[in-house]
Assembly symmetry: C2
Homo-oligomer: 358 residues x 2
Amino acid sequence: MSEAAQPSTSQSPVKIANLVEFIARALAALGVPPEDARVVAGLMAESDARGGDAHGVFRLPQYVKQIQGGAVNPRPNIQVIENRAGTALLDGDNALGHLVMKRAADLAIEKARQCGVGWAGTRHSNHAGPAQLYPRMAAAQDMIGMYFCVGNTNLVPPWGGIEVLLSTNPIAIAVPGSRHGAIALDMATTNTAFGKIRLKAQRGEAMPEGWMIDREGKPLTDPKRASEGFLLPIGGPKGYGLALMIGLLAGTLNGAAFGRDVIDYTVDSKTPSNTGQSIIAVDIAAFADVPAFKAKVDEVWDVMKSCPTLPGVDEVRLPGERSEQIYVERMAHGVPLNEGQRKILDELADRLGVERLG
Amino acid sequence: MSEAAQPSTSQSPVKIANLVEFIARALAALGVPPEDARVVAGLMAESDARGGDAHGVFRLPQYVKQIQGGAVNPRPNIQVIENRAGTALLDGDNALGHLVMKRAADLAIEKARQCGVGWAGTRHSNHAGPAQLYPRMAAAQDMIGMYFCVGNTNLVPPWGGIEVLLSTNPIAIAVPGSRHGAIALDMATTNTAFGKIRLKAQRGEAMPEGWMIDREGKPLTDPKRASEGFLLPIGGPKGYGLALMIGLLAGTLNGAAFGRDVIDYTVDSKTPSNTGQSIIAVDIAAFADVPAFKAKVDEVWDVMKSCPTLPGVDEVRLPGERSEQIYVERMAHGVPLNEGQRKILDELADRLGVERLG
């Protein structure tokens, strides 16, 4: 501990390969089989590489707590419990969510190759990182990917209500292009993510109106009072409706938690979360000539880019464009981690008795 | 014309059966085969019955203009041009959109019964009424339905832009329950619909901030200046991203119009619109025991309803709840039409030489 408390000597970016190795050895130390540990580590590091900083190695201490607490099973037996030509339901046996979702995405892609479309759902899964990871797997196979999941912390009341019964239930869709790569949307159904509110609190800044309301329905702008209010869904009742439908598709349909059943894994690392997710793959070849389609997607990209802009706006962006730029940059030069983040990971390494992050 | 200009003598609601008969005879007078005319009339009247007033008989004069102008083909040969076990692509041959979408929904449902999931896309289709009609067809068969379409008028720039390259591209999802019926979301990806802006203009009321901005990015609240501005997507860049992805899924994937190709059918009734839509059906039986699932959906409904509310809010509503109440009411007592609406339909009847609405 005394060692870990020292400031890290280097502030240079961490190479992706080192991040993968580090996460893999931390998980292996907890009894996760080495091949599984590498799959999860690869996806977590990809999250960091894509700029999803709050969903990558940042979550490792929490996953460790969940394995140690019993909520997450390090040696799961993931099983397909319902199976049709185009669909599958997987029981994740409380595995790390990345393992369950990787398996689900592979299955959806395989089924789409047979049937034109494949839909796989999960139950007894867990937090699986940023939503975009899984539809991007389909896009890499010349398919369109779509993903829904039930978030692991309820933060949003139904529209007009004051009890948090919904999470930020995200949706992600990836469509492969050619010259420009995939157009990939990854969005929560709320105006902001909770992480951004924490950041405002740390910086002592006020939140803009529209992020949160208090229990009287008034705008809440002091991030230190966040626990007294609720996140606002995009478009008010529309975002509520979307979050609810995603909950039904990814939770209820799969026999997973939704509504009052949702376990807040940030405070409870003992109770299995029964997280539910859904991944859909659509084979482009079932609808179109694949190269012609991808050229059309490039054209859509170019048309959006050619749009004249509002004063003060440099250019229109495509969904996933920024994430792809960060990805290229970080794959080449590594992920920047600040001193605090380094320290947390060093302490974790010491506690687990594994080599620190290189 | 002189007759039609007289105010209608009765302001009592129009029975649904009369509405169906009237629409069917108007379409038949234009050369639409009687069985096709009845399918379209039934779906248009269902739209009115469900409270989607801007998407029901209100659109009849426009459809008539499109048939007379040549954009819509009254005697189409709708064909399945791509076919896999779980997917189909339909060429609508410029038919009335309801015909194409009814066929697509039937196919998706049939394929879902075989494969667990079915996905049907359309090209050379047309405006098909309110989005919720088609996923509700799946829900009525104990399936989950999901629908995306490219709207027929571009009203939204990409986020930060000032050229309207996107429509309000809606999404609709219906999930069957038992005691409470289906939970059915039907939402545009903009904060408001253009119809509401027209209504504000008619009433001389200001629009709230958040509906529109002008070309400088400033809030636009005078509905008479609507043509100088743009609709705002829900959640800003998120709604833009969602509208874009829906355009790729329902337009580009199907070889249908999207972006600068979109024909504004409210001003051009000669050029085929090449409208694209996508309908997905998921067989609940491929994932769960159907009655148990529907009971779970009821439970979700009850949990949301049990949520304590903000000051001034009576109760939380479920997506589709209000539409279902209106449906029950209007199926029993008919659809209210005001004098102006009656007059337009009477004039149309006279022009087409068919019996007026009873």
